[in-house]
């Protein structure tokens, strides 16, 4: 295989996601053509790009939710089917099970795997303590606020110890206040677990704020324009937003984005 790698040529498992020669077209129109990607391990990577460039399609293909036309995708050096993945959907309301309590929603991935009630309880209690969650999980999801529901769906994605966490626009259905709350929780979770995360965002500030690497995508047919590193130490706070480094990286990303839009 003579694929040019975009980020680095380090072989897995040093990369948590590796995509080679990915092709996908919709109704004859190519979206991805020989797309390559290697994401260094232990990173929080965000994907940012113009509307319709297929950000969500990309993480849906990498997470195995939709098939690709051709190409090879590996997670920690394994095919998707054998990897343990967690996925947080954009719309928590339509991805939670409203007939189950919040607790049973979180426990569902474990129940599928045949984990005993007792082990489920231990695992969920452990999650709750680690992340300092103060919610009455006996309630039904729809009785919580939007931010709390998204937090419950993040817990559900984490409960089965995923090797990778995918997040598809996790803040886009939330208002500003709850976005801050969920963003802080997510950072806390990332710092505590070190689970690599791949996140699609539609807002540049959010794309930069949490990320180690920001992937900037072009218009379709989509290619990777640049993988911008952002190395400020965590925890990142509201002060981060005004730090010179953050402003510099954001401006750089914005410049590239506007260049791409002009093309």
């Amino acid at each position: 295989m003579n694929s040019p790698t975009t980020l680095s040529t380090i072989a897995p498992p040093a990369s948590f996601i590796s995509v080679k020669n990915l092709c996908k077209s919709f109704a004859g129109a190519p979206l991805y053509q020989n797309f390559n990607l290697d994401l260094p391990n232990n990173q929080l990577v965000s994907i940012f790009g113009p509307n319709g460039c297929g950000k969500s399609t990309l993480i849906n293909m990498i997470s195995g939710l939709i098939p690709c036309d051709s190409g090879d995708i590996q997670i920690h050096g394994k095919p998707i089917r054998r990897a343990r993945i967690g996925y947080v959907f954009q719309n928590y309301r339509d991805s939670m099970f409203p007939w189950l309590s919040a607790y049973d929603n979180i426990a569902y991935p474990l129940r599928i795997k045949g984990v005993s009630d007792r082990d489920c309880r231990d695992r969920i209690n452990q999650l709750i303590e680690t992340f300092n969650i103060r919610l009455d999980l006996r309630r039904y999801p729809y009785s919580f606020s939007g931010g709390q529901q998204q937090l419950v769906s993040i817990l559900r994605a984490l409960v089965a110890n995923p090797e990778v966490l995918f997040l598809d626009e996790p803040f886009s259905a939330l208002d500003f206040e709850t976005t801050l709350f969920v963003r802080d929780k997510l950072q806390e979770i990332f710092m505590a677990t070190g689970i690599p995360m791949l996140m699609v965002v539609h807002n540049l500030e959010e794309a930069v704020f949490l990320a180690d690497t920001i992937l900037l995508l072009s218009k379709r047919p989509t290619h990777l324009v640049e993988a911008v590193p952002f190395t400020l130490p965590r925890p990142r706070t509201p002060d981060t937003l005004t730090s010179p480094k953050f402003i510099e990286v954001s401006r750089h990303c914005l410049d590239i984005f506007r260049q791409e839009m002009r093309k």
């Binding site: 997470s63 195995g64 939710l65 993945i85 996925y87 959907f89 719309n91 339509d94 991805s95 939670m96 099970f97 409203p98 007939w99 569902y108 991935p109 599928i112 795997k113 039904y140 729809y142 559900r156 089965a160």
Partner: protein, 268 residues
Amino acid sequence: MATIVRSDRSRSGWQFLSDWLDRGLPLVGVLVLFGVWWLIAVSGWVNPVLLPTPIATLDTLVRGMFSGTMLPDFWATVLRTFSAFLLAAVIGVPVGVALGSSEKLYRSVEFLIDFFRSTPASALIPMFILFFGISDFSKVVIAAFSALLLIIFNSAYGVMNAKQSRILAAKVMGANHWRIFKDVLLLESLPQTFIGLRSGISIALVIVIVAEMFIGTEQGLGKRIIDAQQILNVQDMYASILVTGFLGYFLNMLFLVLEKRLVHWSGK
């Protein structure tokens, strides 16, 4: 200070009165109807043989239900309606869910279901008499048939319109086909299934009444209404009509309450 307290109290008094009036709003229409009915009945515009006063009608209703022969007729109709409904639900829900979970299967029978759903069930009564005679069972089967199609149709649509993102969520968590069916599709279809059940029992009542009139029976409200009309016992006719109305209304309410209990997430 004292004046503030007093104004508070009087405001809460007004509040109480307006709450009470608000709650009484549904009764306004009823009172107006009875008022107009009474006016027409006593004014002599309509032959009193054809239209008794509401009071005489309600009197007949209460007497009939508590001491007369109306109660057995009432129970006979209720029993037939519920038998028909149960028969339809026990067959209809599993069949509907099964059809809905395979789009190809549903589309291959969609025309049949839509066709017979659109056929007035009363048009089929003679055919059912040919097959099942004029027995009690015959009336139940006709009513069950018309309810069945509604129930199948709604259950199938409930499954087919399941939120795609919930199915994806279950899939990404590692659920196989059977678990997706049992944990997601079945529950996703419940709100729509309940709509089918509720319309099913309504149509079952309609058809049971028609069948009682048309096929004839020993007991039943349909038979009672047609008999009362034949001998111009109009008070009894109106009273029986009111009873069927109450029955239909309370069946609907019963299912709304059940739905709220069992499908607590509906609309949320």
